[in-house]
């Protein structure tokens, strides 16, 4: 678990020492300031999660510290420490944004519970910001699905890699489920209680990327009306997933490398260094070695990211998973659209098996969704899948002769309304040969 950084602001040495000692034994990183002025100087150079501030101090008061801190970083939790006589001031501080107050001397139980509560709230807040933003994007996959050997190897890899802290680089074509694999690694890791923050580097315009990743201070640029946290800060304590890493600019690659090495960054327009501890999982649909050779991806960043790497197989490399995936999507979309579509016909599945799926699982998902929406009956028929009309079915050189033959016989049979004589005539084979091929390829007339 990452340590909470706490700043104690109290002008009494004995109070600072006893509180600091207790909090350090509790495993926190603790720094003390003897005055409000000292605290503000420290806050310019470092960020803290929690401030414990004595209300009555010589010079700058605790309320002054509270006001200035809340102006510059509203997410810092400020707890006021007060003597019995000044509870009314503590209540006033609560109205001005203090998280809570503690009455000196306080019960060790009260302090421990309060620190735990703040830490949990801050972790939740980071996760919530991310979830709110993610809510608008449609979830493409609910979980990874696959019984093929290729996918079993991926599952084994995720089991092994998950608990490690290493950076992971996932390659694979668009739509193969790199994001799902990243999420699965996060779930298997010790950081699973923390946030999983995804950044699609290819979808965010270059000029916005810096602010998206690092956040910005209010007034940093014309549209910066409020101070905003970047994805790096949101990922603190969890996992940062950098999708399509090959698409970011060289300048951003340098900044990113710096963060990965030092864990320190600055918000756009800010001078205060921020620290964030997260695991990085990166993904790309490019051939990464080629990208490095071509100078598109920095070599040092590549080596920093490529501690553990694996490739997600294309759907055409694991066609045996197609029926399972199609059933999964059918179930999901029939529920979502409230349409009683119960099954996919054998013919439709056969067509799916013959198709090359250049858009991979995402394309299959879209095809099933469309079929559920436009289909009229209780089953998905080949005609509900317009991508399988002749011009769209790819006669790729990757397909075997038997696959091409099966598809061709099926198409002719369908065109001839399963008239065997007519089909055999078009195919220039005799009827008995056609019957044997229908049997060998398990072709069935749609019901």
């Amino acid at each position: 678990m990452d340590k909470t950084k706490i700043l104690i602001v109290d002008d009494e040495l004995i109070m600072r020492e006893s509180l600091s000692g207790w909090l350090k034994r509790d495993g926190h990183v603790v720094v003390s300031a003897a005055s409000g002025e000292d605290a503000m100087r420290m806050l310019k150079n470092s960020r803290f999660d929690i401030l414990l501030v004595d209300i009555k101090m010589e010079g700058m008061s605790g309320l002054d510290v509270l006001r200035l801190v809340k102006e510059s970083d509203p997410d810092v939790a400020v707890v006021m420490i007060t003597a019995y006589g000044s509870i009314s001031t503590a209540v006033e501080a609560m109205k001005k944004g203090a998280y809570d107050y503690l009455l000196k001397p306080f019960d060790p139980d009260a302090l421990g519970v309060l620190i735990d509560k703040i830490t949990e709230h801050q972790a939740q807040a980071r996760e919530n910001i991310f979830l709110r933003e993610q809510y608008q994007e449609r979830t493409r996959f609910e979980s990874m699905i696959g019984q093929s050997i290729a996918m079993q190897k991926i599952f084994d890899m995720i089991e092994d890699v998950g608990p490690m802290e290493s950076t992971v680089l996932i390659s694979g074509e668009t739509g193969t489920g790199k994001g799902l694999a990243a999420k699965a690694i996060h779930t298997k890791s010790s950081r699973s209680g923390g946030p999983f923050v995804a950044v699609n580097c290819g979808a965010i315009p270059g000029h916005i990327m810096e602010s998206e990743l690092f956040g910005h201070q209010k007034g940093a640029f014309t549209d910066a009306k409020e101070t905003k946290k970047g994805r790096l800060e949101m990922a603190h304590g969890g996992t940062l997933f950098l999708d399509e890493i090959g698409e970011i600019s060289m300048r951003m690659q340098i900044d990113l490398l710096h963060v990965l090495e030092d864990r320190v960054f600055y918000r756009v327009g800010g001078t205060q260094p921020h620290e964030a501890y997260f695991r990085v999982i990166a993904a790309t649909n490019r051939n990464v070695e080629d990208a490095v050779k071509q100078g598109v991806l920095r070599e040092d960043l590549y080596y920093r990211l490529n501690v553990v790497s694996f490739r997600m197989p294309a759907l055409r490399e694991r066609k045996e998973d197609i029926p399972l995936l199609a059933e999964h999507f059918l179930h999901r979309f029939s529920q979502e659209t409230n349409k009683p579509v119960k099954m996919i016909t054998r013919e439709a599945i056969d067509d799916m098996m013959l198709y090359e799926w250049p858009g991979n699982v995402r394309e299959l998902e879209n095809a099933v969704e469309r079929a559920v929406v436009v289909g009229k009956g209780p089953s998905i028929m080949p005609q509900d899948l317009p991508i399988f009309c002749h011009e769209n079915v790819q006669h790729s050189r990757h397909r075997s002769l038997s696959e091409v033959e099966k598809a061709h016989i099926f198409d002719i049979l369908r065109e001839c309304g399963w008239n065997i004589s007519k089909s055999a005539q078009i195919l220039s084979i005799d009827r008995s040969t056609l019957y044997s091929k229908i049997k060998r390829y398990n072709l069935e007339k749609p019901t």
């Binding site: 004995i14 006893s18 001397p105 019960d107 421990g112």
Partner: protein
């Protein structure tokens, strides 16, 4: 395993220092457990006669911080750590009370039995002895630079209530054991 540690320098030991009258059986139990956990020889010896100097009349309690300073100063040669056990109620200025206090990564620590008999009456009991042993190991762990542990069963778990003390064991979890070994290795290099 720390418990199997072969202490090369026979002069190195941990002192268990009772302050005031405390049950000798209780002290023997603490001595045994300290040796088991750390591998160091543990010796019972009175280092401080009383802690009157730390009494705070306004709170009717004793402040543990100056006691630790005195203990560290009074530690005889060869004493790598010193654990005091007293029966008076302890506090640190910011808190209402503490079960004990330790110098993190330092030499001295202290525990009080004052609040450890809660709910047990006056008779000596095994539960009371177990509580004292757990708090003794806990504070001594801090002197070996161990922090509070999230594992509810680990002796380094921070206990908010006496029920928490009863629930945790007098053992260290595997992580704290490793950290203790690391600390002892680094001490032997100095």
């Amino acid at each position: 395993m720390p418990g199997n540690r072969n202490v090369k320098n026979v002069q190195e030991h941990i002192i268990i220092s009772p302050i005031g009258h405390l049950d000798p059986h209780l002290i023997r139990q603490v001595v045994q457990e300290v040796h088991r956990i750390t591998g160091y020889d543990a010796l019972a010896a009175s280092v401080l006669q009383d802690v009157d100097f730390a009494f705070e009349p306004s709170r009717d309690q004793h402040c543990s911080t100056p006691i630790l300073e005195k203990l560290a100063d009074a530690a005889p040669p060869g004493a790598v750590k010193i654990l005091a056990i007293c029966s008076v109620d302890l506090f640190i200025p910011i808190l209402t009370f503490v079960y004990g206090e330790a110098q993190l990564g330092g030499k001295a620590c202290i525990i009080s039995t004052h609040r450890l008999s809660e709910g047990l009456g006056t008779a000596r009991s095994d539960i009371f002895i177990r509580r004292v042993v757990k708090e003794a190991i806990h504070e001594l762990g801090h002197t070996f630079n161990l922090r509070h542990c999230k594992d509810h069963n680990c002796c380094m778990h921070y206990c908010r209530t006496i029920k928490d003390v009863d629930r945790k064991t007098h053992h260290l979890c595997r992580y704290c054991k490793v950290l203790l070994e690391d600390e002892m290795k680094s001490m032997s290099k100095i």
